[in-house]
């Protein structure tokens, strides 16, 4: 029974994706199944999260084979939290898309693709098998490829080509790394690998260092780490806002999740690689935010901020290489907290950007203005996630940044601390820029009121829910901090994870 609960966040969206395809060309049927699938998927994720929180890591071994032989799914606190967040984003976007995505795209299978994407993302979060992780990546990528180019505008095609090429290149590297792992350790089970890796590292350090490098580049490309980030701002603003919102919330975070999972289980002993990651992450924070300063399209600004925010999260992982156990625990806790905050806030900002685009027919800051007067409620809905992203108390971003900064202080990483503070300031600058240009200044073209559509309740409700979640985390950060702390402890001492996989003993 518990096994069924573990697999349900993957299975429910897939099942409903099939149901959507049965109703192909019939818009209402597709929409009903699509929204139902995303909402039921959220139900499955909540059930799983509650189960894991009460009773510890859960597992599912496919085909009822004994544990290390079967392909396993394991939900520990980190996995369950990620599945919960992705399902929240999925449900929010499914509802939002009923009004935002045009009818042509929706009737051509938008919902089926969205659900397959969610299944792939959840599968990547839950799998405990390296090759299965590759397969889930591919499922997610194929769905994202089609979602990105669905509709076929020129911009979408060009952005799609860049996105597809870089992601396929990263997949090829990942696959090669998986092959070398299989050849040298004779297993792909993450639990078995974490037990065997120290021995292999002692015997052949150059092989393990090369593997860590391959994984770092493969996942770093997907997570958009500097200097592998350039594909993201070239593609994320081209599809409808619903699509870029789900991409912004989830896809890079799958790369970050894979980095955290694989490096904490397989390469925790490689301090040099983690130090290198810290440098890369600090540069990512700064370069991303500087890129945003030069932009004038709302969703392009937000895309550059994704890059910068990924830097903050990976700083948390990089700090695991330095310092005493307490500092490592704080660093990973801060990273997990940051991911949770980031997914909710970033998705919400893209949804707001989509509403602005729908109302005014443009997302170019030069052509926008006067929204404070014509849509004061939208100004509030923008201000909450924007202030949270910039780290203004008492919203979730303040606590997330505080965690990272505290971890940097504990580890004595002063340059990283300076980078984090500087990037935070520039984030505020970008958010103020959007506020001033789109909301505060007078509308440059007075007749613009009639240019676009009025947002419907289906578009506003998801934004309100996500904004309330941000405020709730900001007012009661201890609850999420406890969850993140438990996730960090399980990542640093993976005994419970190994036990759920049926692998005896931790690292000797």
């Amino acid at each position: 029974m518990n096994g069924l609960i573990v697999v349900s966040p993957v299975f429910v969206p897939l099942l409903f994706a099939g149901a959507v395809m049965v109703g192909f060309r019939r818009l209402r049927v597709q929409q009903a199944f699509g929204v139902a699938g995303a909402v039921l998927g959220l139900g499955a994720a909540i059930t799983l999260a509650a189960l894991v929180w009460r009773t510890g890591p859960q597992s599912m071994h496919a085909g009822a084979w004994p544990a290390p032989i079967a392909i396993s799914l394991v939900a520990d606190t980190f996995s369950a939290l990620m599945v919960l967040l992705s399902s929240i984003v999925g449900a929010a976007v499914a509802v939002y898309a009923t009004s935002e995505v045009d009818e042509g795209r929706r009737s051509m299978g938008f919902y089926a693709l969205l659900l397959v994407l969610l299944a792939g993302v959840n599968g990547a979060f839950l799998t405990a098998d390296l090759f299965n992780l590759y397969v889930c990546f591919e499922v997610m990528l194929m769905a994202s490829f089609v979602l990105l180019v669905l509709g076929g505008d020129r911009c979408q095609m060009e952005g799609g080509l860049k996105y597809v090429t870089l992601n396929l290149f990263s997949s090829a590297l990942f696959l090669a790394a998986v092959g070398i792992v299989a050849g040298s350790a004779h297993s792909l089970n993450l639990g078995e690998l974490s037990v065997r890796m120290p021995a292999i590292a002692a015997e052949r350090p150059e092989l393990v260092a090369a593997l860590a490098g391959l994984f770092l580049v493969a996942f770093g490309l997907k997570a958009a780490l500097f200097p592998l980030h350039f594909w993201l701002p070239a593609s994320y603003h081209t599809p409808p806002a619903s699509v870029s919102a789900v991409f912004a919330g989830l896809l890079t975070k799958v790369g970050v999740y894979a980095l955290i999972r694989v490096f904490s289980l397989l390469f925790a002993g490689l301090a040099a690689v983690l130090d290198f990651m810290l440098v890369v992450a600090a540069l990512t924070m700064v370069i991303g935010v500087i890129g945003a300063v030069a932009q004038f399209n709302i969703r392009r600004i937000l895309s550059f901020h994704i890059v910068s925010q990924i830097g903050y999260i990976v700083v948390g992982l990089g700090l695991v290489g330095a310092g005493d156990p307490a500092a490592r625990r704080l660093a990973l806790t801060a990273a997990v907290f940051y991911i949770a905050h980031h997914i909710l806030v970033k998705t919400n900002l893209f949804l707001v950007g989509g509403v602005i685009g729908a109302m005014r027919g443009s997302e170019d800051l030069g052509r926008l203005g006067g929204l404070k007067r014509s849509a004061p409620w939208l100004a509030v809905l923008f201000l909450v996630p924007a202030a949270s992203l910039a780290g203004i108390p008492p919203l979730s971003g303040f606590w997330a940044k505080l965690g990272i900064i505290a971890a940097a202080v504990d580890a004595g990483a002063w340059l990283v601390l300076a980078a984090a503070l500087g990037a935070g300031l520039l984030t505020l600058l970008s958010m103020v820029k959007i506020w001033n240009e789109a909301f505060w200044k007078d509308d440059p073209t007075p007749v613009s009121e009639d240019r676009g559509r009025r947002p419907t309740a289906a578009m506003v409700a998801p934004m309100v829910v996500l904004a309330l979640l941000t405020v709730a985390i900001g007012l009661a950060p201890q609850a999420l901090f406890d969850v993140a702390d438990r996730a960090a402890v399980e990542l640093l001492e993976p005994d419970a994870y190994l036990a759920a996989l049926g692998v005896a003993g931790g690292t000797p």
Partner: protein
């Protein structure tokens, strides 16, 4: 044999990356195809080459005799080939549509999103 295959893998990676660095988008797809092949051969070679000893479990035994080929990398290659086929089909159609839409096959001229 391992050395020969390692050299082949190296050559495939070289040509794959060379083709991906060209400006023509059709060559880009060919580059991706070669990268996929290189990765598959790499998995096969890294798994250890064993001639003529299939991993068959005899009746009454629980495991194949020691020294047989590892079936895991071969299963991986099979799956990866299937996924690679789907991905390359998609990439081919995408490139076709990109050329239709932009009227060029030169990536340097695709700057509408920059």
């Amino acid at each position: 044999m391992t050395v020969l295959l390692a050299a082949v893998v190296g050559v495939l990676y070289t040509f794959g990356i060379y083709l991906m660095l060209r400006r023509n988008v059709v060559r880009l797809v060919f580059g991706l195809v070669l990268l996929g092949h290189a990765a598959n051969l790499l998995i096969f070679t890294a798994g250890g080459l064993v001639r003529g000893r299939p991993p068959i479990v005899a009746v009454g035994e629980l495991a194949p005799p020691p020294g047989t080929a590892d079936p895991l990398p071969q299963a991986l290659v099979l799956t990866a080939i299937v996924i690679g086929f789907a991905v390359v089909s998609f990439a081919a159609v995408l490139v076709h549509r990109v050329i239709d839409e932009t009227g060029t096959d030169d990536v340097d001229e695709m700057r509408a999103t920059e």
